[in-house]
């Protein structure tokens, strides 16, 4: 392997976080590359310095201040389990999966939708008792009915609401 492949692995190499094969590759490369050896040593020293950096400590009155604030508060009750479940389901790491699933779902819905259209056309041709035919029939009934009862408001919509053809039979009865 070349230096540009080895260098990014040095950090994980120091932490023993490489696979056995990568560790072997880095070891082998380091044995013959002084530049990478120097980088490794510098990185090790940087980590040591970071580890030894002086730590900050809270002030003496930290506890007293915190106690004053806490004394006015009560822990919140446990959230409902389903909220926990939902928040875990939609955590950022899973969002790409949810995105892919949504796209797949939309594609499936569209496929089903477009597949249904030709079936509907066939149905209309096969079975004449559809909306268009019924409206046509209702128009005829309306004309007949309004001729008998001119004062009654019998619109096509009202006739359409009685697909059983009761109005038609009424019209026949009054005739």
């Amino acid at each position: 392997m070349k230096c540009d492949k080895i260098q990014p692995m040095l950090s994980a190499f120091i932490d023993n976080a490489l696979s056995a094969r990568d560790t072997w590759e880095v070891d082998r490369h380091l044995a013959e590359c002084h530049e990478c050896q120097r980088s490794l040593n510098e990185m090790k020293r940087t980590i040591k310095l970071l580890h030894d950096i002086s730590a900050f400590e809270v002030s003496a009155d930290f506890d007293a201040k915190l106690q004053t604030k806490l004394s006015e508060l009560q822990p919140k009750p446990d959230r409902l389990m389903w909220i926990k479940g939902l928040s875990r389901m939609f955590r950022p790491r899973l969002l790409p999966a949810w995105g892919a699933a949504s796209i797949l779902g939309i594609v499936l819905v569209m496929m089903v939708f477009f597949n249904q259209k030709p079936i509907r056309t066939v149905n209309m041709n096969t079975f004449p008792a559809t909306e268009a035919n019924f409206v046509q029939q209702a128009k005829v009934q309306n004309m007949a009915f309004s001729a008998v009862n001119p004062l009654e408001d019998v619109s096509i919509a009202n006739l359409s609401a009685h697909p059983s053809g009761q109005l038609g039979s009424n019209a026949n009865a009054s005739e």
Binding site: P8, L10, S11, A12, D15, A17, S39, E42, M43, R45, T46, I47, L49, L50, H51, I53, S54, A55, F56, E57, V58, S59, F62, D63, K65, L66, Q67, K69, L70, L73, P75, K76, P77, D78, R79, K84, R91, P92, R93
Partner: protein, 198 residues
């Protein structure tokens, strides 16, 4: 590690049973670590202490929702990380002509570090160590937030990769590459110290 986790688990169970003493023990155990982490993230000072208090208040308020799949360590650092991110956003929003943080904080930090006696070195070394500490602190504050969080948690707080994955909610590869980039950036910034063999 397991002993610490077990002790933490029993403390949390006691807290969930409204035992105030158990929460005080958690504070005593973690306050300096959380404070140190926050100081390294936002810079030392009054803000850092307030944010540390906010971390423990948020932990106290939500202790009943704590799930045992996370460790107390991870949970507290996650809360602290979120609080620091919120704080930095707020600061950026409020102060449009902000003075660079590292310049202001480096002065405060100098004061804090003056209080810590270090007898391991002779005066020349002490001066160099102090300078180096200052340089390191500045380099850490200069890092982008994502890189800084990972290097602070791993190299200063000593958290494992898996714990950092949970805190920053990233896969292992991302944590490793962020850590490499952060270490590389710091290494370049203090390369003159490294070459002069402190």
């Amino acid at each position: 590690m397991t002993a610490v986790s077990n002790a933490d688990t029993s403390l949390i169970l006691r807290c969930q049973d409204n035992d105030a003493a158990a929460f005080n023990e958690i504070v005593a155990r973690y306050k300096n670590r959380v404070y140190n982490y926050i100081c390294r993230t936002v810079g030392p000072g009054a803000d850092a202490e307030d944010l540390t208090q906010e971390t423990f208040i948020r932990a106290y308020m939500n202790i009943k929702s704590f799930q045992s799949r996370a460790t107390l360590n991870t949970w507290l650092f996650r809360i602290a990380t979120n609080i620091c991110i919120d704080h930095q956003r707020k600061v950026k929003r409020i102060q449009s002509n902000i003075v660079p943080l590292q310049r202001e904080d480096a002065d405060n930090e100098e004061d804090v570090q003056m209080d810590i006696p270090d007898t391991r070195y002779n005066p020349e070394d002490m001066l160099l160590t102090k300078e180096l500490n200052k340089e390191l602190s500045k380099a850490l504050l200069d890092l982008p937030e994502k890189l800084r969080t990972v290097i602070l948690l791993h190299d200063i707080e000593g958290l494992a990769y898996e714990e950092i994955m949970e805190i920053v909610d990233c896969p292992l590869g991302t944590v490793k590459s962020r850590l490499f980039n952060a270490r590389q950036t710091i290494r370049k910034k203090i390369s003159h110290y490294l070459n002069s063999s402190v």
